[in-house]
């Protein structure tokens, strides 16, 4: 459970930083009225939707941290046999990176008001994300063809479970991306479009980060990395 504890420490860091700006040491019964200081203590300047997405991503991060924790706990048992990762996953990783880059471009374009570039970026991002999902399915097929079935051992089960869960999140993201893309073609409200594109980019970057972590975990690098850290500490 160490991974989730570390993750929660990060969250606690954010929470602590935020709380430290809320005047927890002040004596509210002495402070009447509405002075300048108070306005600064009010809401964050960020758009509400972004904060909402941020909180949601914390929950998603928590989910994957828990999967990772469970993975490590099971991995510690001596009979652990990881399955060989198909080469295809490297290609998929590249495709997902492209998808993120395309959305980043769309964000920049949206800020500059270049609607054509926004459309191009969104379409590219959507297609590459779809390609990633298809690639993941092909990787699954390759593995089952080689005899690595879901139920044959716990390492396999974890592989299918974690990659499947990540794929579902991408799929959910595609729904949001689809709506944003539709909005880009209508181009009714540029302010709103900019926000949606930014939200999509945020979600995409986060899922890319999750994928890289998952990839490192499944390839066994994460475990090696932790071993090295442990040796350095002791």
């Amino acid at each position: 459970m160490s991974v989730i504890i570390v993750f929660l420490f990060v969250i606690a860091g954010f929470a602590g930083w935020w709380l430290s700006h809320q005047g927890l040491m002040s004596k509210p019964w002495l402070e009447q009225g509405l002075a300048g200081d108070f306005v600064a203590l009010d809401r964050s300047a960020l758009p509400t939707a972004k904060i909402g997405l941020g909180v949601f991503l914390a929950v998603v991060g928590c989910l994957f941290a828990l999967f990772t924790s469970a993975y490590f706990m099971r991995m510690a048992v001596s009979d652990w046999q990881p399955l060989p990762l198909p080469r295809l996953l490297w290609l998929n990783t590249g495709v997902l990176v492209l998808s993120s880059i395309a959305l980043q471009c769309a964000t920049v374009a949206a800020r500059r008001g270049q609607i054509d570039m926004v459309r191009l970026g969104l379409a590219t991002a959507g297609l590459t994300a779809l390609a990633f999902l298809i690639g993941q399915l092909m990787a699954w097929r390759q593995l089952t063809a080689d005899g690595y079935f879901l139920t044959s051992n716990p390492a396999n089960s974890f592989f299918y479970l974690i990659t499947g869960m990540h794929g579902l999140h991408i799929l959910g993201g595609l729904v949001g991306l689809g709506r944003t893309t539709a909005g880009a073609w209508n181009a009714a409200r540029p302010e709103r479009l900019r926000l949606s594109v930014e939200l999509c980019a945020m979600y995409w970057h986060f899922l890319l980060f999750v994928w890289l972590a998952v990839f490192a975990l499944l390839a066994g690098w994460a475990a090696t990395f932790i071993d090295i850290c442990r040796q350095l500490l002791t």
């Binding site: 009447q32 009225g33 469970a70």
Partner: protein
Amino acid sequence: MVDITPADGIPPAEVAEVELYHPHSWWTRYVFSQDAKVIAIQYSATATGIGLVALVLSWLMRLQLGFPGTFDFITPEAYYQFITMHGMIMVIYLLTALFLGGFGNYLIPLMVGARDMVFPYVNMLSYWIYLLAVLVLVSSFFAPGGPTGAGWTLYPPQAIMSGTPGGQDWGIILMLSSLILFIIGFTMGGLNYVVTVLQGRTRGMTMMRLPLTVWGIFTATVMALLAFPALFVACVMMLLDRVLGTSFFMPAISEMGEQLQHNGGSPILFQHLFWFFGHPEVYIVALPAFGIVSDLISTHARKNIFGYRMMVWAIVGIGALSFVVWAHHMYVSGMHPYFGFFFATTTLIIAIPTAIKVYNWVLTLWRGDIHLTIPMLFALAFIVTFVNGGLTGLFLGNVVVDVPLSDTMFVVAHFHMVMGVAPILVVFGAIYHWYPKVTGRMLNEMLGRFHFWVTFLGAYLIFFPMHYLGLMGVPRRYAELTDMTVMTESAHHLNSFISIMAFIVGFAQMVFLFNLIWSIRHGREAGGNPWRATTLEWQTPQTPPAHGNFGKDLPIVYRWAYDYSVPGAKEDFIPQNMPGSFGPSREPA
């Protein structure tokens, strides 16, 4: 002293981003409504409905325990199904949904001075997914093989094996699916509660001016958002084990002379995941209760809550600490024994902020002007039961004392006292307190007092003696207490007594329900602020609050939530949105 009034040129506090949703038809106004107040009532009604089912189940269990052998239809199989559904419904589908979905939805926007939640559409979806989760849960009663009988902890391997009711039938599948749905639905609602507190606060409403109710619900929601994923992970993995035959939690097993296909899984892994959710869950239920009871005591004792800052720190501290105590549910689970030292220490440390909260509640009473209204009575009863249940927690948290007591009736008595009776008493107190705001009418006083006395004394008489059954060594989750040396003749009598009290207490809840329905039409007119309270929900122009809560302009907040009996002020309360400076030694800001 400087008087600051709206005339100073402060613009009305409007949240530009939030576009208020407007219902167009009866359907969108009352059924598929995006108004947090309607959603709150939908949540509360659904939770109460399913809670009644759980109440009936508890009666059936008490029939079997109190009068063994008399009721043939309660087979061990049925008993375990009752006990599982009772526990799961009460903890998750009633208490969590009621405190966060019900009270959270109703009170957060009103108390922070917002027109609605920040994402009303998602908020509506949250309720409908919750309803779907409840329906899936209920459907398991009608599925072949009936609901699961694995106990509310759903420990594998037995939860998905044929020796457990519903283990190889539909019961466990429906239970896990329902939990997954609940978590998805809750996450949608939870995002709303958190972000509304962060971003929806009106002008002048700093975090340190929030009523403790909002602090409690806010912290509990943050915890729930981080804890429920653990249950989600556990449920998904167990569902795969059951449906697709994976072995996450299933080691090699020889069941009744037959080797199962599973191999290599870890049952302890499930317990870690479950309690990583399960312990914060206790505080997810308790923290809103802490917050609400603080406000009840302060309002009805006409005195500011004693040590507001300490109360806030304690809520945040308890919330954070509750994530590092989960394994105290696993002292005798066979995990590494050295974990016991760590988790016993963290568990007993959490007693300190909790004790501070109790001190501050009783110190708020000191030199107060205590109105013994029904909400106040329930608040006092909460302190008694919570202190009792909290102190027995010191037995169970102290690892070695837990060894003889774990899995006995002592545990049952402890958690019912501390997270069953105590929070439910707060729920009742809160309903008597806010019902006038929701409906515009008071609940009937006489029925209320009857309900209070029977519930409080009855519940205490049920659960206080039950501890002693556990001390004798009577295990929990026994469908039959026969042929046991620890069950003496007198212990059987005690069990019968407990069962009779359980029926009486359950009956009193019917009186309460009658009161709830009867008073909608026939209750005394309440007016806008019957308790003369300071917080914003009592300052709305209409009662019940209309759509948009606060009329044309949002209120501006000039003071904290607890300006009761301020020296120098004419009334013994100053609403949060009243400008001006009062008090002998207070610096104007």
